[in-house]
């Protein structure tokens, strides 16, 4: 009951004007970067566009926007209070609240990944379909992971400033390959896309760490929210 109410609450907030525009803007940015990279030279254009524009910049920013909107720009506790104060469980509401944004982010990342491969490789490339399929599943998982991480981080700060701190840490610390990059999604997403791995970890471990850390963030954020 509470999780469903949380899902409906976030869905209503995401349906407000602006979400579609933000999604289109992020998609245009991704496509623009892909076109520029292709113009630079086809060799490695897909990797550069995916690691840079699509999953390096557009995806984290769009996920940040989705979570901020789902939380009505406030902390996790305040975001669920309009229903929690009438007798619904805050923790269940938080779980429901994360779902719509995770679905939207997942769709966005899958679509932008496929588009980037299509633009940079072109249909003439024999392997474009296989690479596009890889980008679709990596994008779907990355979108979910980013959203869960941001939702968990929204439990920190009186107005949910935790998600802004997390965005900064992801950009700064996640860009490296040292131990400092382990908690943040960026390094593991880069590893899955074939970029520099964090601590030379395998892609399977990176996938497990990506999902593990994002669910851990969600769990911690949920536990910080009172029942």
């Amino acid at each position: 009951m509470s999780a469903r109410a949380g899902f409906e609450l976030a869905s209503t907030r995401l349906r407000q004007p602006g979400t579609l525009s933000a999604g289109l803007l992020a998609l245009c940015f991704t496509v623009g970067v892909a076109l520029l990279e292709r113009a630079q030279g086809r060799g490695g254009a897909a990797d550069r566009a995916l690691l840079g524009g699509a999953f390096g910049i557009a995806l984290p920013l769009f996920c940040y926007f989705l979570v901020a909107r789902s939380c009505a720009g406030s902390s996790l506790q305040s975001a669920v209070n309009p229903l929690a104060r009438h007798g619904l469980s805050r923790r269940a509401l938080v779980l429901g609240l994360a779902l719509p944004a995770a679905l939207v982010a997942s769709l966005f990342a899958a679509l932008s990944g496929a588009l980037v491969v299509l633009i940079t490789r072109g249909t003439g490339d024999a392997l474009w379909l296989r690479d596009a399929a890889s980008c679709v599943w990596i994008g779907a998982i990355s979108g979910v992971a980013y959203v869960l991480t941001f939702v968990g981080a929204s439990g920190y700060g009186s107005r949910g400033q935790g998600r802004a701190w997390l965005l900064a840490a992801d950009f700064v610390l996640g860009a490296g390959g040292s131990l400092l990059a382990v908690p943040w999604p960026k390094g593991h997403v880069r590893n899955l896309l074939g970029g520099t791995p964090v601590l030379e970890l395998s892609q399977l471990i990176a996938l497990l760490l990506l999902l593990g850390t994002s669910f851990a963030f969600l769990g911690i954020g949920s536990l910080r929210t009172r029942r």
Partner: protein
């Protein structure tokens, strides 16, 4: 019987609240709205106290959805769950607290807010949002605690709000209202509680009154001050008198201003004495200092007695009892 307890509960500008509320109506007054808003946030379980604890029948509302379901709230800054229109938002709240979502239109109609039903929640002004929230709170028939901030400052008619609160009190609910307006507090009635310097405490026993204390004096000018003084000395309230600057003026000291004045007027009417002027005097600084010294000495002696227990008092001598 439902009990709401605040044990040293603190949140932001509310430095401490110590209350034990039984079913009935309570009005908390303060010149500053912030401590009142914090009190309502604590009572409703919207926020947990930074220090101390809040309980509704032994359960902390901030940590228990079941307890929150038994609380109807009106906050200072209300936010309805977002939805296409207000009626759907109200339905969502009703559903969250276990009521029938189909009653949304009736809740709005009963409160005279039907015109807001089709408006989106984002289009409502702050006062309209609070009005809808108050309508929802008043329609909560299973609520055991009503925590309402400025309930008379909404679009709902005052008479309707007061009648509904009367009905809830009659069925055994606790109604805790907060306001910065003394006029609203008078209308709301019930027991008054005051926040002073961020602290709120319900005194046990007799309700604290304005002008309560041993140094409260009334200046009275009467046609026969001497007879009035004799009558006052004979009263059972322990009133004392002293002559004022003129023979017709008396200074009357009593336990509280209201007791003294009631007794004065009663005796004067009973014995046909004309009262020409009646006013409360400002207590002199010496009286206040003497009272403070008296409290300090009383506390010292109580502590000393407690420490000595059954030990015999020291023999009388030139310095015995000379402590200050």
């Amino acid at each position: 019987m439902t009990r709401a307890q605040f044990l040293g509960a603190a949140l932001r500008q509310l430095r401490s609240a110590d209350l034990e509320l039984a079913p009935g109506r309570y009005v908390t007054l303060s010149s500053e709205p912030e401590p009142l808003q914090a009190l309502i946030a604590l009572a409703s379980g919207q926020e947990a106290p930074a220090r101390g604890s809040v309980w509704l029948d032994g359960i902390a509302p901030a940590a228990s959805p079941e307890a929150r379901r038994r609380i109807a709230t009106l906050l200072a800054d209300e936010a309805l769950p977002p939805d296409r229109n207000t009626e759907r938002s109200v339905a969502r709240v009703l559903s969250a607290r276990g009521d029938s979502a189909g009653d949304a239109a009736r809740v709005l109609a009963d409160a005279g807010l039907t015109q807001l039903a089709t408006l989106p929640t984002t289009a409502l002004a702050a006062r309209e949002t609070r009005s809808v929230a108050l309508a929802l709170a008043l329609a909560h028939e299973r609520a055991e605690l009503f925590a309402l901030h400025e309930p008379l400052a909404t679009a709902l008619t005052r008479s309707r709000v007061l009648e509904t609160l009367d009905r809830h009190v009659a069925r055994g609910a606790i109604v805790l209202c907060t306001t910065t307006s003394t006029a609203d507090a008078v209308l709301l009635g019930g027991q008054w509680l005051c926040v002073e310097l961020g602290r709120l405490r319900a005194e046990p026993g007799e309700r604290p009154r304005l002008g309560f204390g041993p140094w409260q004096q009334v200046l009275v000018e009467a046609s026969d001050a001497q007879s009035l003084a004799l009558l006052l000395h004979a009263s059972p309230h322990g009133l004392s008198t002293e002559l004022g600057s003129e023979p017709s003026v008396l200074k009357v000291t009593g336990p509280a201003l209201d007791v003294t004045v009631r007794e004065l007027i009663g005796l004067a009417r009973q014995h046909g004495i004309e009262i020409r002027r009646l006013s409360a005097t400002v207590p002199p600084v010496e009286s206040l200092l003497a009272a403070r010294a008296g409290f300090a000495r009383g506390a010292y002696e109580a502590a000393r007695l407690a420490a000595l227990g059954s030990v015999a008092p020291p023999p009388a001598g030139p310095y015995s009892g000379g402590y200050t």
